[in-house]
Symmetry: C2
Subunit: 446 residues, 2 copies
Amino acid sequence: MLPPPALIAEISPHQLEVAETLLQVGRFLVIFIVARAIAELMVRLQLPTILGELVAGVLIGVSGLHLIVPPETQAEISGALLSLLGSLAAISPDDVREIYNETFPSLQSVSQIGLFALLFLTGLESELDELVAVGVQATTVAVAGVVLPFALGTAGLVFLFHVPLIPAVFAGAAMTATSIGITASVFGELQWLKRKEGQIVIGAAVLDDILGIVILAVVVAIVGGGSFTLGPVIKLGLAAVVFVVVALVLSRKAAPAFDWVVDQLKAPGDVAVASFVVLTLCCFAAQAIGLEAALGAFAAGLILSASKHTHDIDAAVKPLVALFATVFFVLIGTGMDLSVLNPFDPANREGLIVAAFLLVVAMLGKVAAGWSYLSSEPTNRLVVGLGMMPRGEVGLIFLGLGSQAGILSPALEAAILLMVIGTTFLAPVLLRVVIPSTPTTAAEAV
Amino acid sequence: MLPPPALIAEISPHQLEVAETLLQVGRFLVIFIVARAIAELMVRLQLPTILGELVAGVLIGVSGLHLIVPPETQAEISGALLSLLGSLAAISPDDVREIYNETFPSLQSVSQIGLFALLFLTGLESELDELVAVGVQATTVAVAGVVLPFALGTAGLVFLFHVPLIPAVFAGAAMTATSIGITASVFGELQWLKRKEGQIVIGAAVLDDILGIVILAVVVAIVGGGSFTLGPVIKLGLAAVVFVVVALVLSRKAAPAFDWVVDQLKAPGDVAVASFVVLTLCCFAAQAIGLEAALGAFAAGLILSASKHTHDIDAAVKPLVALFATVFFVLIGTGMDLSVLNPFDPANREGLIVAAFLLVVAMLGKVAAGWSYLSSEPTNRLVVGLGMMPRGEVGLIFLGLGSQAGILSPALEAAILLMVIGTTFLAPVLLRVVIPSTPTTAAEAV
């Protein structure tokens, strides 16, 4: 990469490259070692590994050792790390800090590839017919899981805590999110992805993501002030409908075409590259019409789930998930500032009380959504409700947006962060408690 | 990522994220589609696919459609692309250009992961004992392949073309490089990696990389002017020796420890993550003592080649190679400016004549190195010589360094570029011509 002008004078291109490589490789090394160590601990405690990845992030992030520090948190990077790398690359710790922040987006890009790969795999392992069969239930769960936390959260903040309307609406909106990544990861590991509960939760999480984008557009327009028009929201809504319909049609029709193309390919790595083309194409299309690229990744997996090459696709994508989705979840953990949790700091108390309220509403709202649908056969409604609970990265995005716009008081900001942290960490733990270790029914697929 | 201050005023964080995602995903899409299409053509022409990836890079890079434009080339990005993405993300083409250049390092980081994965795989598929058995031959080939092109190139430039000594030395140094990535890729695809010729070439290419780093240190010191001291060079030489010795010892001893650790791991993705830890650790260690991180990647593969999990490691790393090493080779192609090849432009003629000389010396010097070693059994010396020929990314790094230091005349710069392009493209073609399609001996491994 081109060094920024300020650095050219002092650092040679060679030193710059050395420092960049040490940083990039070193960050991977720290992430993998710590995440793996704690994931192993989690497995032995019979807890989902994703919890270990989040905890690992907290340990090495802005609440812990300050080794992995996302630049947008504005937190300090460990001085020992800067000195060590500075002496290895023969540059000053200040220069290391500069290069650290400049190269961080590369790590975030790699983590995005991990998220896309995970959602692609989730789509690939979903059964389209089962997903369509639970369509009505998933829609009910998604809508109830959006309306309940939003209404209860906003009303409670306004009437109980006398928060002004706009920040209250914003906090309510942040409570509607569902982190499809965390849910998919837990259900996949517990092998509940193909059960009815799993399919309802995944379907509802996808719809929730779509609803979330529409809500975000509305909230941003309101926060932007005055200029709120219905046009863009209707456009987004239409885009979402078109997207779902096209994805459903393609899932039925496109797999044979894909298989035909793959059969023509002769160069090595054919299945991996062909799948990645479908994946990036769907991500691009989703983002281009205003939806999330992550939704495109899920749709791509769904489209290829009818391919005769699913086994090979699966084998090609799994290493990407093992490596880079780990990075994604660790990065979520690194950005969480747990110092707001300290009850001995008087500045935290107001936030903690609001947070306790938001957390309860956030949990109850989603869990109640598990009882919102009708089903002829018995399903574990608690599993469905808990599956919708983690806010994860989606909640953090809402929070980042609100704090960037300057509409949240420090107490409310801390409260939303605690709500996000609480739901994100409790969901895998509670799911693990509720779901028996060995599945009791034979509903699992091969 | 944090938007730079200049952009914050005009672009909302949401628009920025949309533009970033479209660019990142879109670039992957273009790279994979074009690279795959031309790789398929190459397979049908019985040529190595890497050639297709380089050609794909030329087609979509600064010599072609300007879709993938490394910022350091300073070339213009396709206006149509900027307009399209600008209209999709609702920002101006100028802002797209800015974001394009800012997000490009992420693509380069991913391509680095691809290179590391490829060299790791090369090490993994190497037989340590065979590599040690050909150690003397590999050393002879490496030294001859460095001395011959350097001496002939520098002397020719000074005495035939009256080039001043410092630029001539620099051009000579650029001719000593061997692109281990290209060589490994071609030999792997033709299944000659485990034959004696393959092992000699890989061993010599690794040693050549080490020699190259020492040469680079010397040349940079000379170019830096006056302050040349022997200290750093001796330090690098010692580091290289330590590195080779440690890698050899670990290759014999460390695999059982690795296997023991992997056997203790229970969380999913264990082999992929454990291998990646070894890989990043070796890359970090190599870079930290002043060598190339890529050498560490090869050493990591060599260390794990005695593991009982090689089959699983192989399966986990291959998708990374198929996806990201492709990006690496395509990016090499995108940075090549072929306009210097046009003989009708009078400004090019001087460069073309010098280039013809450098190209001939660059080819003959490495091919002659194939006849430099003693061997009791018959080996195909032409294959060894041609295997050492491609300069690839290593040559481009030398060139970039020279043009940054301002010591090369435009004609000499063009000539070095042509030498790099010529050897890089001709090596896979000539190897394919020389190596029979179906191996005639039974020397291949499982």
